[in-house]
Symmetry: C2
Subunit: 641 residues, 2 copies
């Protein structure tokens, strides 16, 4: 039987309408159709093909990425795409390009932090890519601790200029996306020095390369790419060492603060930090969404391949080997990850709503306390979810890859690329471990204020009384998740922070899981078959993770060994119940073959032919006798020894 037939058969088994599920995940039919429009646009353009990127060396990868960037930018300009449309198009192109940070970090920074006058001068040029920019914060020796940055911007009242300078090797700006070879300007985050006194960190607009011929400008001692990374190699993350680089006084981004001619700092206090927090929240919400999509891609590949890969023949009645998706362990590894992908889609939606709600409050709210409270809540949740979701997806991609056996190790599976590209997200935009501290600080603080008003958790025993209880009443697991958070808060809120960093990491994870489970529960209330399968996924997600962290519920007697055993049984039942829907559940993500770029994840299931065809394009296979044979092999083979 052919592998194509296997997938056809799987699709016949689906209990629900796949397209309807796609609309739900996309946020409505209209959104799905709009996405489709850009998908078609991207697929038509040959330069966007990802088929050969697995064969390209770094310099060729970068050059190809420049070509794609150019086509994208020209399309954005020509079709006058809105920011939302541009985002959809970038997502469909699905590669981190040298212009990505320009559009998503540099332009928004200008828009948020420029004075009106500055914005008029720079924003239209940046939007049209007549200037191409990046955002330089981290330094070779400084990442998470922003206050430790060493780059200085010293005001020289004689010439009315700032002097941007890198005093040490550790102060070299490093990791800056798009800086290496692409950008001609840069927003630099530096310690402002006025009259010998450090005033703290501010942003400056610094030209780097000539707009005429792209050569580096005076005051730039070194500028270049920081070398190959695990993934993300189409992007020229770069570094720059300044040597007394002079810029006009008016190049300090002046929406929230400026330096006057005499060298005095004039500030609009308070607002700036709230806007910064807002931007951070948005970034982190995007990370959650991307985590969902990326894990969904990995699941799509692993599920489809597991449905066509056959191994071992357990029955004497059949000549066929068993589809590996029918093994309990394979289901136990993949299905909870499908459920997690759905959970991430939903919680990303929840996160978005919270962000919009918060921005509303910031713009229209009257009470600064309410504003600050909302900001603190949303910031804590987004920090915790960023950390949880990116960990979940990193681990999940690798689990999917390992589920594909040997072929998962091939770049043609698409999975190594997915992993290597994604995992920078564990450390970028707030290291996952450090973020957990923000969650704990918030939870401890709000516990203390609630404790003073006499609020307490009432339940301290899980009251599940039979196996089916777990799936019939979602309140049981929601309560368990809540209980764990509260217990960890109670146990730790009065201890010295340094001594409980391990517990804090667990608390943050516990809280994030709670948010995810509650969001999933809210999102599976649909009529008909869609509702039924979503309920199952929700149950699987919640119960699987209860099982994984079971010690947390057993140790204080909240849950009994018997209740845990019921969870295990329920999880195993759910795996079997979800089995016929597995392929349909990943089909619903609606990823194109272009987007997955995986021989194993092909929609039609013709995986082996796809592998065999693809390797014909491997450069080593272009000649029969390989380059190097006569220098290095022939002397051995023809030796007289």
């Amino acid at each position: 039987m052919s592998t194509k037939k296997d997938l056809e058969d799987e699709r016949k088994k689906a209990s629900f309408n796949v397209q309807e599920m796609t609309y739900l995940l996309d946020g409505g039919k209209q959104k799905s159709e709009e996405k489709q429009k850009f998908k078609d646009l991207v697929h038509k353009e040959k330069a966007f093909s990802k088929r050969d990127i697995i064969f390209l060396g770094r310099s060729d990868r970068y050059k190809r990425a420049l070509e794609r960037s150019q086509i994208l930018a020209e399309t954005v300009n020509k079709m006058k795409l809105s920011d939302e449309e541009r985002t959809i198009m970038f997502e469909e192109v699905d590669e981190d390009l040298p212009l990505t940070t320009h559009y998503y970090l540099f332009v928004p920074t200008l828009e948020n932090q420029c004075s009106e006058k500055q914005a008029k001068k720079w924003v239209p040029a940046a939007r049209a890519c007549k200037i191409i920019g990046c955002y330089a914060q981290t330094e070779l020796g400084h990442g998470s601790n922003v206050r430790g940055l060493e780059t200085t911007a010293t005001y020289d009242p004689k010439t009315q200029e700032f002097v941007i300078h890198s005093p040490t090797t550790t102060s070299v700006k490093w990791w800056v996306g798009g800086l290496g070879k692409t950008s001609n300007v840069c927003v630099v985050f530096a310690q402002l020095i006025l009259d010998g006194k450090n005033q703290g960190l501010y942003s400056f607009f610094v030209p780097l390369r000539s707009l005429e011929d792209h050569s580096k400008l005076p005051g730039i001692e070194f500028i270049g790419d920081i070398g190959p990374k695990f993934g993300f190699n189409a992007m020229d993350n770069g570094c720059v060492k300044f040597n007394q680089c002079r810029i006009p006084r008016t190049n300090m981004l002046a929406r929230f603060a400026k330096v006057n001619k005499k060298g005095q700092l004039i500030q609009r206090s308070g607002v700036s930090s709230r806007v910064n927090y807002g931007t951070m929240v948005l970034m982190r919400a995007n990370f959650v969404a991307t985590a969902g999509v990326t894990l969904a891609k990995a699941c799509t590949i692993a599920t489809r391949y597991s449905a066509v890969r056959r191994q071992f023949n357990n029955s004497q009645n059949s000549h066929q080997e068993v589809q590996v998706i029918d093994y309990q362990t394979q289901q136990h590894r993949i299905f909870p990850l499908i459920a997690a992908s759905y959970a991430l889609y939903f919680v990303a939606g929840t996160m978005n709503e919270m962000y919009n709600d918060m921005m509303d409050e910031l713009k229209n709210g009257k009470d600064v306390n309410v504003m600050n409270q909302k900001l603190a809540l949303v910031h804590a949740i987004s920090s915790g979810l960023k950390s949880l979701s990116t960990n979940m997806t990193s681990d999940g991609i690798e689990e999917c890859r390992k589920c594909c056996g040997g072929h998962g190790y091939s770049q043609m599976s698409g999975l190594p690329y997915l992993y290597a590209t994604f995992v920078h997200r564990n450390t970028a935009e707030g290291d996952n471990m450090i973020l957990t501290q923000q969650v704990a600080r918030y939870l401890f603080k709000s516990f203390k204020s609630q404790a003073s008003t006499g609020q307490e958790n009432k339940i301290n025993k899980c009251n599940v009384s039979c196996e089916d209880d777990w799936v019939q009443n979602k309140e049981h697991y929601v309560s368990a998740y809540k209980h764990r958070v509260l217990r960890l808060v109670k146990e730790n809120h009065n201890k010295p922070f340094d001594e409980i960093l391990i517990d804090i990491a667990q608390l943050s994870r516990a809280h994030g899981m709670c948010v995810m489970v509650e969001s999933f529960v809210k999102n599976c209330n649909h009529q008909g078959p869609i509702g039924v399968v979503l309920q199952k996924l929700c149950n699987l997600f919640a119960l699987h993770h209860l099982e994984q962290d079971a010690a947390h519920y057993l140790e204080d007697g909240y849950m009994s060994g018997q209740q845990l055993q019921w969870i295990r049984n329920s999880v195993r039942k759910l795996l079997l119940e979800l089995r016929p829907d597995a392929v349909a559940l990943v089909d619903a993500f609606n990823f194109s073959d272009h987007y997955l770029n995986s021989a194993l994840g092909k929609y039609d299931g013709d995986v082996y032919q796809a592998l065999f065809d693809w390797i014909k394009e491997e450069p080593l296979n272009k000649s029969d006798v390989v380059d190097g044979y006569s220098q290095h092999l022939k002397p051995l083979i023809h030796s007289k020894l």
Copy 2:
């Protein structure tokens, strides 16, 4: 303060003699000195430098690897190195080369499976690299289930030849190391067809390429490289499609079976499978050893970098930021992995002893039953440990990488390379998930036979009565590990295999952990400071993993919540106690800077300068204005829009 000074200070804190520990890990002073000899040899040879491999594209990587292979092979021949010496030298070169499988798979296969006559003809030529070979077992559609292989070897009595043939796309030999572009011969594992009847799988010596000019021979429809992989890209894993490829009858490897002129199969039964098992055990034992060394490398990089990386200033008395190794979470992530590296070194030694003991029995033993029992035991343990150790190391490398923050994502950290190269070991030589079944089968069987003789476990409660009990009496944790294995065996041994695959995976892990902990306990009985620090490491390893899997001990009431809390407290104490020895413990692995190939893991701690120097060699930085600027960037920047 300089980062160099940081490491100097760390080294002063060590409680034990580092060189003494190195000798212990290497298996004696003499072995350490022998290793050093080959280290020096490798470091002297410029072609062995690994500094530029992060910049090379696939084809250049392969060609460079050919050059290294040639130098290695010529050194082996010239210096008349023994197999052990060659192995040390290969390890110091530390790259998977096109000739690796030739030496480690092809030559031993010939030695084990050839008749004396065949061995005389082929082995010396193979050892001298006058023929270069590989071992072709897996096929595009067939991996773990060897019986499902489709390649046929049909005997043609008219010409007294075997016809090797690939009837389908799924039957194409795939993943074969060294086959893609390097080998000129191959041992092919194929279904033997005699007079239309399938006789099962046998091995055949099949020429692939001309010894004269390396061009492919008739009967080879396609031969080539299978394309880029996650890592391991200096190796040309390849594929071959046979089209009625004819070889002489005498090319069937004939030590255990042969086909006579008339086409009759003549077998020496029984022996072959025992020899095969022996080879498999050895392979898996090597995987365990490699897992130890690889995890140790990752720990060395992460520990040294964590000692020089400083982030956040928590004290008002100091201008300096805190060494990140002083954060509890960082210690909690890294130190148990250092302990695991030591555990893996020791258990690899245990494994080796068991292997030698078994081979002794196979060669000199009289009783076939004893032989088979020993084989079954060692095979089960090696399967379980291969699975456990490679999982532990894969996860551990990534944890170390993430502990290095942003810079861990750079190829110059050495960690992405380490991970991408290592992780094929989770699926190679027996998929880790499938191997767990072998362990369970063995344990169930021996439980049943022991149960019939009345043997039973006596302890069913952990009797730790205070916190210090856990570290003062190792019997407590050894008993806990044993208890878990026995409980899982008891609960599952009578259930249908298909329905307990998840439990089986846990059982195999539980058993492997038990073997590792017992081996560690045995290996830390040393006098003086070395003994003290090893005891601490052993305690940390055992207790950390008890904490991780705590649910397994809580759910049946074996352990109480209080006892678990004492474990947590003990682990945290151990982290603080081991803190001053952290750098010394990784120094003891005695890896050279060449071997680590990591800017972050440099012995002298000068990490930032190393990063800044290394990127000057990035090809993208060879020119000021990058290739692609005038085609793709200039049109945007100079546009009139």
